[in-house]
Symmetry: C2
Subunit: 191 residues, 2 copies
DNA sequence: GAGAGTGATGTCAGTTGCTGTCATCAACCC
DNA sequence: GGGTTGATGACAGCAACTGACATCACTCTC
């Protein structure tokens, strides 16, 4: 038998999410989270740098997914096509039920929104960096990064709140079509 | 003689900025800031909701300036023209020396970057809201808000770091011209 | 002009986020 | 079987932040 119950970080994350849902982020202490997970406060801070971070574990993997998606796009692909490929790959990174609960808590908590904005900025920077590495100019890379994350946010929100639970790629291409409309004045995306 | 030295909030802000420059945000305690301003820690928290906020007082006024700028734009103006008018008005809101020092501290401190992203988001939302109120559609208003703040950030950074100290409007129109290039493929802005 | 506010400040005690340090002890290695 | 490792617990301590109450120059009112 193992000395400790497995998956301490996962238990802490689930305990935190439950408590945040029940009584709110600020009204929950780290000691309470740890107790529900069968651990101590000190151990919580060994797994997560701070109280907010418990809801953001995994964002580094998302960065990797997006960068890999851009890197794997064919050399002839435009910046936006490479970003689109990356965003398609990103859809597989989320467990829908967890994502939905987590999103509700973040929307209710300014402190968590701050952290989320920071993570999204790192996604933007990572996308722009990957594009620059494949030869895209600085300004276009930055703009494409910002646009890509804007599309990502729209896609994520719709996917998470869709009562029909349509797949990620469907929402993604819907958002991209709207981007085309905005830029070109009419729907033109084929597929 | 007045019972207290005047401008407590201003003294706290200057003391905080000095200490953040000297030894960094995290290495500075609120008690130290208050002491340098001739006040107590408790009084600091009466003037500022938290330690970060001491560098962000005034952002509500910037929101007002931008919204007023959009509201005052002629009814025929496009969304982008209204945003441009608002951004021109925003230039007068900054004292360059303070802005430069503040920016350096924020760039060195992730905690402060989080707060800054939050403030920029509220600027984006305010711009988009003002545009919607003058009849601009939801999606265009949001995109114009995001674009406007992106241009604002570029303008602000260049203005603050410009060794030649050229005026705000000059940097603003430079950034807008680049936006045109990106969107239209060639410089086309006249004035 | 005396008494009753008013408002910015001080004082103090308390909670909570977060950190450093040392101890523990099953599992693993040689 | 003894040493090492690695996740955890225990405990002390700092700093951010809050609530409650006291202070006292100024101001308003009659």
């Amino acid at each position: 038998m193992a000395r400790w119950e497995p998956n301490a970080a996962g238990r802490l994350r689930e305990a935190a999410l439950e408590l945040f849902e029940e009584r709110g982020f600020e009204q929950t202490t780290v000691a309470e989270i740890a107790a529900r997970a069968g651990l101590t406060e000190r151990t919580f801070f060994r797994h997560f740098a701070d109280k907010r971070e418990v809801l953001f574990r995994g964002s580094e993997e998302l960065v990797d997914t997006l960068v890999t998606g851009v890197d794997r796009a064919p050399a002839e692909a435009t910046a936006l096509e490479a970003v689109t490929a990356a965003l398609e790959a990103a859809g597989a990174a989320f467990a829908p039920e967890f994502a939905r609960r987590r999103r509700a808590v973040i929307l209710a908590t300014p402190e968590l929104q701050e952290r989320e904005l920071m993570k999204l900025t790192s996604l933007t920077d990572a996308l722009a960096g990957a594009l620059r590495r494949r030869g895209v100019g600085e300004s276009v890379a930055r703009l494409a990064g910002e646009t890509g994350i804007a599309v990502f946010r729209i896609t994520f929100d719709r996917w998470v709140t869709d009562p029909a639970q349509r797949p990620w790629t469907e929402h993604l291409h819907g958002a991209l079509a709207e981007l085309d409309e905005l830029v070109l004045g009419a729907p033109q995306r084929a597929g």
